[in-house]
């Protein structure tokens, strides 16, 4: 399925995940439970759109056929997207949104911490910059998970339900990848072998404080972001996100 080399695919995995997660956050505009949280979600989304753009610009330079960041965001079909299955899942209630946010933040936090020392200088620079923002995101989502998990009986139940809803998609956050092994052997990125353990340690730590139960290790199933086999939700998300550029190509403000 893959069209590009491992490094470009890896950049798309990072960029697509940030963009799709940001798009989901934007869906909360005008609907968030509190004005402060709406601003919080929009600002996190804004950081992620900026990060996606940085990854896309690098990917576009590598693809080098006239593709730019906008083409990657707005002119690719579902099967070409490499975002994590987790981030394309519907927002559900605030508990589901925060659970997704926390799982994704923890994954980004540990991944970017490793990529700060990447042999590829461009990756190291983008990771260093993004990590500052993601550290703040993780702080916020961890606090929310604790507050809701260790809150009222209802908030606790909703969190348990939210975890049940999205946990199965987290297998992608803890899977080992041959492509990434190739990239670390060639010196582009550091070895990511400890990423799964570190991610799980953060989840364990925060869930313990939140009085939430960590489910058993998730197992892989037939969907996979690496091959563009997405859940049905991504297509609908793209239909909305890409509408303007598809209907009116090259429209600008």
């Amino acid at each position: 399925m893959t069209k590009y080399d491992e490094l470009t695919e890896f950049l798309l995995r990072l960029g697509d995940s940030a963009l799709i997660h940001a798009q989901r956050l934007c869906e909360w505009t005008g609907r968030a439970p509190a004005l402060e949280e709406e601003m919080g979600m929009m600002n996190v989304g804004l950081d992620l759109v900026g990060q996606a753009r940085n990854w896309y610009e690098y990917a576009a330079e590598r693809i080098n056929d006239g593709t730019d960041a906008d083409t990657l965001a707005f002119r690719r079909d579902e099967r070409a997207f490499r975002n994590l299955l987790l981030v394309e899942q519907p927002n559900g209630d605030f508990a589901v949104t925060m659970t997704k946010q926390f799982f994704y933040d923890a994954w980004q936090f540990h991944l970017l911490t490793m990529l700060k020392d990447a042999g590829d200088e461009r990756i190291a620079a983008i990771a260093t910059k993004s990590l500052k923002e993601v550290t703040y995101h993780l702080r916020r989502s961890s606090q929310w998970v604790e507050r809701l998990g260790d809150g009222t009986e209802e908030s606790h139940q909703r969190m348990e339900k939210a975890i049940d809803t999205v946990w199965r998609f987290t297998f992608e956050l803890v899977e080992k990848s041959d492509a990434e092994l190739v990239l670390s052997e060639s010196g582009n990125i550091p070895a990511l072998s400890e990423l799964p353990e570190q991610w799980l340690a953060t989840v364990n730590n925060v869930f313990a404080k939140a009085t939430l139960t960590v489910p058993d290790e998730p197992s892989a199933f037939y969907l996979s972001a690496r091959t563009g086999m997405h859940s049905e939700h991504l297509g609908m998300l793209l239909a909305e996100m890409q509408f303007l550029q598809r209907a009116y190509p090259d429209a600008s403000w």
Partner: protein, 177 residues
């Protein structure tokens, strides 16, 4: 380089030396942030370098937040200001590494933020201060340290929302990153 640019370099009629660079810096002291119009791009520390490259003034800018919508506006403002000051074809380039930090905001910028009603970043940025977030923030209105955070985010990504428990005024705090 297109032929036209060869003719219209920024050195035309100028020495193209150190004095011009100092002049360019002074021009940028007057280019204000669009969101917080009391601090200049020099105060914020986002102008990292000004030099001469192939007869053009070459300005290196490090953006604050990855998604900051003001980034492009600021780059355009810098270019416009330099053109108005007589540098006909200044080049503005982005540099991501090292990443921008609030530690680069100068003393004048901090004082200006405070006078504008925005609490300047407290202490220096470090991973620990980002993760814990436990630092007393002084109210820019009355100076009390008896303040509390209302929200992790304020009106823009670079700020969070606080309230002073002494004078009861809400205020923005420029986050430390």
């Amino acid at each position: 380089m297109p032929a036209g640019e060869l003719i219209a370099t920024d050195q035309q009629g100028r020495s193209g030396g150190e004095a011009d660079i100092q002049y360019a810096y002074s021009v940028l002291e007057e280019v204000m942030d669009p969101e917080v119009p009391v601090v200049s791009v020099m105060d914020l520390g986002i102008v990292r370098d000004i030099s001469w490259a192939d007869g053009h003034l070459f300005v290196v800018v490090t953006p604050t937040y990855s998604g900051c919508p003001a980034t492009e506006y600021i780059e355009t403002s810098i270019r416009d200001a330099l053109q108005n000051a007589g540098f006909s074809h200044p080049k503005v380039a982005q540099r991501l590494d090292p990443a921008w930090t609030t530690d680069w905001i100068n003393e004048q910028g901090r004082n200006r933020l405070k006078a504008y009603g925005i609490a300047p970043p407290v202490g220096s940025s470090s991973k620990r201060s980002l993760l814990s977030g436990i630092t007393p923030v002084e109210c820019p209105n009355c100076g009390s340290e008896d303040t509390e955070q209302l929200s992790e985010f304020g009106s823009t990504a670079c700020k969070s929302l606080y309230r002073c428990k002494f004078c009861l005024e809400p205020f923005d705090y420029f986050k430390c990153i």
